[in-house]
Amino acid sequence: MTFGALAAWQAWLLVLGAGLAAWWLFRMKVRPPRLAVPSLLLWRRVLDDRSAPSWWDRVRRAVSLAVTVLVAASLGMAVARPAPRAATGTEGRLLIVLDASWSMRARTADGQTRWARAVAGARALAQAAGGDVALATTADGLVEGPTADSALIATALDRLEPSGGEAAAWPRVEGVAVTHFFTDGALLRPVEPGTIVHSVFSPAPNIAINAFSARPGTSSAAGPSAYLEIANYADEPQRVHVTVTRAATVIVDRWMDLGPAGVAHEVLPLDATGGGTLRARVSAEANALDVDDEAVAWLAGGDPISVAVVTPEPDAWSSLFAGDPTVRASVVSPSGYEGAAADVFIFDRWAPTNAPGRPALYLAPPAVGWLARPVESEVTPAWGTSDWHPILEGVDPFTLDIARAWRYEGPSLQPVAESARGTPLVSLLEAPDARGVLVAFSPAESNLTSAQAFPVLVGNVLDWLARPAAGDPRAPGPVDLPASTTRVTSPDGASVPLVRAGDRVLATLRAPGLYLVEAGGARSVIGVNIGNPAIANLSRTTLEPDVAAARVPAGVHRAWWFYLAGLAFVLVAAEWWTWQRRITV
């Protein structure tokens, strides 16, 4: 027997002390009620006749004393929280690992989820453990322990939920003697040698969205579209209800029939405007897993961005964004900047005295303390080397004639393109509170505004500035974000922890849904979908046939202390009932 709340010697000392205290209290005479009688003459005779207690009196007294001591001992034992020693094969540290894959949320035929079965098996193991217990999941690693307090493990088991982590590393805990792993085997996962694997797999039918993505239009003829793939992982054909919404508009709402193991693909044409958020939902009668019933996608450009151009030559910019439905442009002179509001600014040969608080493109800005200052110029610089960067994607530098380029010095500038002599021609500004692109030459000292590269460059810059993290929806897991990322908000509104490593920001996007990424004043959306046939197909498992099914205790499984406390209560009730009838003393 082990004790969860006290050391063994403390527990036994408590039980012994409780028993002795009960015995002492039992022996103590409680002042009885007084009753005046005419004479003690007859009572003395009765007393004399009964001077020696009969055997029945002795039995009554002994039974009452035994019951009283047993009640005290039961309560003392319950406080100490005993538990049976388990046949775990070892007295050493026990590690329990739960597979936190999304497939563990699947409901089995008996109405339980695979996760619930795993938790029940883990709980039984933890309560029966003879030593320290550590609890880990494949998603979060070590979550509790190592500890001898079974209550902590039980509490941790109550709060855990399957949360993906398919790519997470195997948890490691020092000094583990035996490891138990509860899994449904949906994903092939390498485990440590010697690990005892418990299977919670049972086949179940499922309907899943395997893929959902949106692509912007490539031309006026080829507008944006969405791709949807639905699969029926059931042995029977199913009638599936499909809905697709864009912002608040329902663009698809119909039923389709899918045969057993059937897959449906569909390309949905989309309007150029109407919002960027797309959601697809499926439902069917035989559908054991819920997390793959909904998918999201983000259509880049689906939400137009507002651009304010602050320039001393508005005419040069007036036609740049004409015909681009993804941009709402306004052109103002520097004097009109104060009232301008936009998602992105373009400052042409001008910069505000304070940071704009929004991403911005700076074309040969004058010296401002918070940004940079030109220190020297290079005449007719030749475009030299450049690191690959999305803002230079498709930009042909040979179409640019630059008369003069300035070397800017600033604390956060990172050159992505330089002249042959090393003068930074295009630099990035990426700090937690500022995001920008600085071009070292102005339209006045180059053919920038008339070059073919100009609209491409500006378009790339706007995309990069305004949509710092875009792209196709991805699977749950870690994501690389720009260094200027300040906040990532999960679908449920919580902030996702960010890890900064050098010039990178890492975040783990675990739950499916749309995540809002804020970087230097820009906002963009990342979609995360489950969409994995390995998870969605609940009829298969990677576990070997000889893997034992997880043993879940039948009925209500409660700790011993509960039964001990119940025993004490029953004994007290029995003692009271017999005392009322003078059966016991």
């Binding site: 005479k29 409680v30 002042r31 009885p32 009620p33 007084r34 009753l35 005046a36 009688v37 005419p38 004479s39 003690l40 003459l41 007859l42 009572w43 003395r44 005779r45 009765v46 007393l47 006749d49 009964r50 009969s54 009196d57 003078r582 003393v585």
Partner: protein, 287 residues
């Protein structure tokens, strides 16, 4: 206590006793006692036809002559009511019942026997109540009895010894008590009987003292001495007490039967007039 209802019942008892005693003169009753209760007056020569029961055989032995004893007829029969006024009588209406019985007997006695003396006793004799002759004195008796309190211990033997040390004519002694006397009651009753009095024992009890209606740990406190004992009253103990009380009452009854002393048990819950009538029957005054 001695209210109008009590007086009505008292009058009814008087009428009953009057019918019962009618036709029996005092002498008949007296001579039934075989000389006890009669005073010797003189001798005369025996003549044929005289009652040979009155021949003084001692004188014949001495004088060799047949002489007849002559007696003076008693004008009254003293009745002595020994009333237990100890604290043990205080509870459950016993003392009130005893006082009513004593008052009733006193009244009847004043009507028929002329001389009744109430002798309250505790650890010894208390001040007696001797109303004198005539039933007009009964209200004085009532007042004295009503003012009496049950207090102190019980020692019947000591009380009888004190009674014996005084000069009392032989008569009828009625003892009204619960007989909870740690010194024992037999010696006192024997002494009373040996004094030549006709004895009648009335054991007064309350229904509550015959039984135990409480269970569990109880501290019993003696009403007279204040001593206590702690006892765990179980059904078995309660049964033992009931049996002890019955044995106690039966012991007194057996003693009385052995010495041919009329005995009756009077419950405090019974109507006092019934007890008085039973007293008459036990005392032989009525059939």
């Amino acid at each position: 206590m001695f209210d109008a209802a009590f007086l009505r019942k008292l009058e009814h008892l008087r009428l009953v006793s009057a019918r019962a005693f009618a036709g029996r003169d005092r002498a008949d009753r007296l001579t039934d006692k075989r000389g006890r209760g009669l005073e010797f007056a003189d001798h005369r020569q025996y003549a044929p036809g005289d009652d040979i029961r009155h021949i003084d055989w001692k004188a014949y032995k001495r004088l060799n002559r047949l002489l007849l004893r002559l007696f003076d007829e008693e004008q009254d029969l003293p009745v002595y009511l020994f009333l237990d006024a100890s604290r043990s009588m205080a509870g459950d209406g016993k003392f009130d019942q005893a006082r009513r019985i004593a008052a009733s007997l006193c009244y009847i006695g004043l009507v028929h026997f002329d001389r009744v003396t109430i002798l309250p006793f505790r650890n010894g004799l208390a001040r007696e109540i001797a109303p004198g002759r005539g039933r007009g004195r009964i209200f004085q008796v009532f007042d004295t009895l009503a003012a009496m309190e049950a207090d102190g211990g019980t020692d019947l033997g000591q009380s009888i010894r004190q009674f014996a040390s005084r000069t009392f004519r032989r008569g009828l002694a009625i003892v009204l008590s619960d007989f909870f006397d740690t010194s024992g009651v037999e010696a006192g009753l024997k002494m009373l009987s040996s004094l030549g009095h006709d004895l009648l024992v009335v054991q007064v009890f309350s229904p509550r003292e015959c039984d135990v209606d409480v269970l569990g740990e109880v501290r019993f406190v003696d009403a007279e001495s204040g001593e206590h004992i702690d006892l765990d009253v179980t059904p078995g103990v309660a049964r033992a007490y009931r049996e002890a009380w019955v044995r106690h009452a039966e012991a007194i009854e057996a003693f009385c039967r052995r010495y041919r002393v009329p005995y009756l048990r009077a419950s405090a819950a019974d109507p006092f007039e019934e007890i008085v009538l039973r007293t008459f029957r036990e005392g032989g005054f009525i059939e």
